[in-house]
């Protein structure tokens, strides 16, 4: 029977949740790195026992951790993220130019076939790569050449939070940056271009269809359809069928099209999930009800999934990296909240149950299915 391992990053450490493929009975292990913010902890497809974690804090900066035994033991790895050349400047809150300054690693994306190869998305927004298991990191500076001087941090910081390596072409990588937009490379990260056509941000930008500046919250792809992308923008749920060349809105009947995560079912490429949040002013679910919305038609037609989720007095948020999908035959979904709950559904979202209720605020959730 397969083992399911859920990797949870929180404001005060990392937790590992383990179950068998029934996903009914769980053990909770942690905290690892207690007292530290763990923005992301993830496993490598090429070696499931190789885990990477981003550990950071206001006092001591960025620490990077690696485990080669599935999280039993950890060792620190390289934490020097140095921008290539002269770092340059980006736009600051007052309209002036501000030097690029490394703050933290938001997202780690290991290569699908090489456990030593891993990308890191950081704040201030940039993409780094390691080919030696995280000992050293090198920036891919072409990304910041795409009008980087116009990027401006949003309230959550100017972070690169989404990295998707195209499953049919490792030289094609998609990234998304808060308050800057979505970008794509087709040459392994040397050159990049914005892929924001079709996005409209009339409440956030003076030019609603600007080439850069859109606040993309997350992007998801099904591996069988590498040209189809789904996006949760600040407002609007969007879809592209041509690798981001053009986006169109699929918010349909959602109660709110503001939210953070978006995910695709493991076996149904047209089944997608979002967690609507009332608004950018509220950052909690509409009507105090935590509802995951599922579309089986690739958007526009949505149904609320509520069974097992709190349907009154619930004012938590689900952050962009805190929703994960497993690959078991009965597809499992996992979400973590800012209230410290982690919920699991073992049946594609029809029924949910809490695994834990009182963790620190959850920043990220990833899941591994182990043989």
């Amino acid at each position: 029977m397969s083992e399911v391992r859920v990797l949870v990053g929180t404001r005060k450490g990392a937790f590992l949740l383990r179950s068998d493929e029934r996903r009914q009975d769980w053990t909770v292990e942690g905290p690892h790195f207690p007292g530290w913010e763990v923005f992301h902890i993830t496993g490598t497809p090429a070696d499931p026992n190789r885990l990477y974690a981003s550990q950071s804090g206001g006092w001591f900066g960025q620490v990077m951790q690696r485990s080669d035994d599935g999280g039993k033991t950890w060792e620190t790895i390289g934490n020097e993220f140095v921008y290539e050349g002269v770092p340059g400047t980006h736009q600051w809150y007052d309209g002036s130019q501000h030097p690029w300054e490394f703050k933290r690693v938001w997202h780690l994306e290991p290569s699908p076939d090489d456990a030593d190869s891993v990308y890191a998305g950081v704040e201030d927004a940039a993409l780094f790569h390691s080919s030696d298991g995280g000992k050293t990191w090198r920036e891919l500076p072409g990304l910041r050449e795409v009008k980087g001087h116009l990027w401006q941090p949003g309230a959550g910081g100017m972070c690169l939070h989404t990295i998707i390596i195209s499953p049919d072409n490792p030289n094609r990588i998609f990234v998304a940056i808060s308050a800057a937009g979505a970008f794509r490379t087709d040459d392994g990260g040397v050159t990049w271009r914005p892929i924001n056509e079709g996005l409209k941000s009339e409440y956030e930008l003076p030019d609603a269809t600007a080439e850069v500046g859109h606040c993309v919250h997350s992007i998801a792809m099904h591996p069988s359809r590498p040209d189809t992308l789904f996006m949760q923008k600040h407002w609007d749920v969007m879809r592209s069928d041509n690798a981001g060349e053009l986006w169109y809105e699929v918010s349909g009947n959602l109660p709110s099209d503001f939210g953070f995560p978006i995910a695709v079912h493991a076996h149904e490429p047209e089944t997608i999930y979002v967690v609507p949040i009332a608004s950018d002013s509220h950052h909690f679910p509409p009507d105090g009800k935590l509802r995951v919305y599922r579309s089986r038609s690739g958007g526009n037609e949505w149904e609320a999934l509520t069974n097992g989720l709190p349907q009154s007095h619930c004012y938590v948020n689900v952050l962009r990296n805190a929703f994960a999908v497993d690959t078991l035959e009965s597809c499992g979904l996992y979400l973590g909240t800012t209230g410290g709950q982690v919920y699991v559904s073992a049946d594609s979202g029809d029924h949910w149950m809490p695994v834990v209720r009182d963790l620190p605020p959850v920043l990220s959730v990833e899941v591994q299915v182990l043989p």
Binding site: G35, G61, V63
Partner: protein
């Protein structure tokens, strides 16, 4: 030998339970102490000072002999009691309320 005390999180990272002792060549300065500390415990690189600029992190303080040395130049000599190992060089995480 110079004695250095670390805050809890850095002791955990360095896998030590108490003060660490370091061989530091003369003249003993903050920079020489931190260089020796990071050489002996490379997992601490970047946690006390920026790895590139070597600037002290904003919420780190250096205390010794009842004084705050945080704003002393990094190449200034530390007090003789620290240089001779009679008093520890204390690395502190600054207070934060909430």
């Amino acid at each position: 030998m110079i004695q250095v005390t670390l805050p809890l999180h850095l002791r955990t990272l360095a896998q030590v339970t108490g003060p660490v002792e370091l061989e530091v060549s003369q003249p003993v300065t903050q920079r020489a102490i931190l260089d020796a500390l990071e050489a002996a415990y490379p997992m601490l690189r970047g946690t006390i000072r920026d790895p590139v600029t070597k600037q002290r992190r904003a919420f780190i303080r250096f205390f010794a002999c009842g004084e705050d040395l945080s704003h002393e130049p990094p190449d200034a000599a530390v007090p003789a009691e620290v240089a001779t190992g009679k008093q520890p060089f204390r690395i502190i995480g600054a207070m934060a309320g909430g």
